[in-house]
Symmetry: C2
């Protein structure tokens, strides 16, 4: 049934399972044999003894009308930079190394704000669509919800994930690429609304403006707005969180996160881009020759090993190598993993279904022999693009850039099992 | 791009889009025309005026290290029965009518407990696998995590969803079928662990026991344990919530929720079922002839329209009919919707990807003419099974049963747009 559950992976799966069973048996033959004996005696809390939480009734149903994580998971929170000058324009990262699967829970979705997080009354909020249109429109949130809806699982990623220097400083997977998250979004196709207002022939761009204190504005090519752009009001089933743009945001699948304008209040259909602060002084890429690349929208293919990863510690024997891969250009078609510093590469198994512009979970069974090692992953997407090394990337881009760093991240494993950033 | 984004749905999509554009234009031609004029004057909070939340910086990044919903969504909480005798053995329901897409956020996942919610220390918790095995095993949570993992999006549903009488009493979609939720689960395939311990030839069942005050126990056929059964420690990326079995639960895709034992402490491999309380006095189906059906594991195909649904109010003109369908036997292959009380049926569009044993979101564009109407949906799964009417179901099952009611739910729409339970 395993192969049926993972169509297309049967070849790799078969090989993976042979490796795993060998490794698994070694694992049992080793440390776990002791545990089997321990079962006879048992600790205070372990069978055949009865743990204290079985001796009295637990908490009532509905003791949390809106549920929360276990108190034992209190350290699994957003990763917030320390000592920032101010936090109304700052970021917090998703703790990718603590998460499984591809869905990011809403409480841990990454944040990037330029004027802080507004608390918007949805009954008072309006979305205006105007400019080069036949019938300008002002929509309440109730009116927006009357249009046909769609749901899609898409990743969202900040274009500075990580900055070129940060890649040599971060300790954890979250420090390095935690400005990326993935969830199920529901909203109205922007094309549906643009069809209603009637876009004039001379229109080429749409300027999206947020209702935050920064009035963040970005120019979006009309072609993207007529393609897969969404006006989103829900994430992972429930309404958007305030940090993600409540009550409505723009979502541009595969484009740099800053363009998916949150707290969306205005869509101005125009002939020329606005050349706003966010597309001139920010979110441009400085090249070695002193010029700047502007309007670099698409997030290129990237991957990160989340286990084992920086600050974790592994034991000798079987260890599953697992992580995430994604591409702003479509589906991930492969992830290759090296356990010898890039000398040789193996194909990791991709968790089905592999979705368009979504996180893709990859896994590779590995038996660690206790010797120092460096492990890496590289993503390949449906265009054939292969995630570059930092050396290959900077050979073209130089070190003056901050945004669009999708370089391979190596993790160094010491003889004691400690995992650290291979660039440090 | 819409068709590319929804492979296999192009036929229905084309038809749906024609209907929608006609309906959409009617919508704009009606109430929304007024809104377009309002844009010129604008309200206090609306463009061109600047709303108050743009006049001062918003909250800091990381003001919620673990994020919460907007205060304006405070009423979107679990649906808890009022006036119960006690709540250590009770349930709370997911507010399906307030949610979009297929993912249930962890904070709103339904609950059903028999001894309350234990607060378990994962460092002290153990999972014992014993009985008819070659090498009994006692696992810590860290040891369990060393095995190869898998992630799957599966629904989970209580078998009493709803009870036979409740279907004639519930007001909302949540009242009727809110004991069902869907999320991405990550864990270890149970087969992997059973292969490690070595199941003896005479083994036929596995008795799963929880570490709650009820020590809830259920007997599971060995065949299911060797098929797609999972030992789960994460849901929607993060660790299980205490209400869903933290730190580890059994998950049996498609089986009645009670069997996916939470707070799992023991798997006893045996030759005969345990005939526990939960499979004798409870979770059996009383038939008209006085006999009882036992071990009725699989949740049959079901669907519910979530918008419009009970206690909601709709306006004349375009309304998207949307809801959820699922089957314990595999994929949903179709959902048919009737807007004339069952006289005629139309195929709804299924949101891709349609996943095995997961919620499937369906949608149908509809223009309401303001006349009283009754709307219904029926699910069809990959086995060809069609969701029955309550009359057809009770003709065979009678009214003495409580569990496994998967009857069609009709919603009555009054001339004023008020939506109510068609059975009341």
């Amino acid at each position: 049934m395993r192969d049926e559950a993972e169509p297309g992976a049967s070849g790799r799966t078969a090989r993976s399972r042979r490796q795993l069973l060998a490794a698994g048996t070694a694992l049992i033959g080793g440390s776990l044999a002791g545990r089997a004996i321990a079962a006879e005696t048992g600790g205070e809390e372990t069978p055949p003894h009865v743990p204290r939480w079985m001796k009295e009734p637990g908490a009532d149903v509905g003791s949390q009308p809106y549920g929360q994580p276990s108190p034992y998971e209190k350290d699994v929170i957003r990763n917030i930079p320390k000592g920032g000058k101010q936090y109304t324009s700052s970021a917090s990262r998703t703790p990718l190394q603590d998460l499984d699967g591809i869905i990011t829970p809403n409480g841990l979705f990454y944040e990037r704000h330029h004027g802080g997080i507004p608390e918007i009354d949805p009954a008072a909020h309006r979305l205006m669509i105007h400019g080069l249109v036949e019938r300008p429109l002002l929509l309440t949130m109730d009116e927006l919800r009357r249009f046909p809806t769609e749901s899609h699982i898409y990743f969202l990623e900040c274009s500075g994930n990580p900055g070129f220097e940060v890649i040599k400083q971060g300790k954890t997977a979250s420090d390095l690429v935690g400005l990326a998250s993935c969830c199920e979004w529901t909203g109205v196709r922007l094309k549906t609304i643009l069809d209603e207002v009637g876009v004039k022939p001379e229109a080429r761009w749409v300027v999206a403006e947020g209702a935050d204190a920064a009035a963040l504005a970005r120019s979006v090519p009309l072609a993207k707005c007529l393609d897969d752009a969404l006006l989103v009001f829900s994430q992972n089933g429930e309404r958007l969180r305030p940090q993600q743009g409540y009550p409505v945001r723009l979502l541009l699948p595969g484009f740099e996160g800053n363009m998916s304008v949150k707290w969306l209040r205005r869509l101005n259909v125009v002939a020329e881009p606005a050349y706003s602060r966010e597309e001139t002084s920010k979110y441009t890429d400085s090249m070695p020759d002193g010029t700047a690349r502007q309007f670099t929208f698409v997030m290129e293919a990237k991957s990160i090993i989340t286990r084992p990863s920086g600050t974790q510690r592994i034991a000798e024997g079987f260890n599953e190598i697992t992580g995430l891969a994604w591409s702003g250009r479509g589906r991930i078609t492969g992830v290759e993993v090296s356990v010898d510093g890039g000398a040789t590469w193996q194909s990791a198994r991709l968790q089905e279904p592999v979705l368009n512009r979504a996180f893709t979970r990859f896994r590779l069974p590995w038996t660690w022999d206790g010797q120092p090692a460096t492990i890496l992953s590289r993503a390949i997407d449906e265009t054939g693009y292969v995630q570059p090394s930092f050396a290959d990337l900077t050979a073209i881009r130089g070190m003056k850039s901050f945004y669009h760093n999708n370089a391979i991240v190596p993790w160094r494993i010491a003889a004691d099992g400690e995992v650290s950033n291979g660039y440090v």
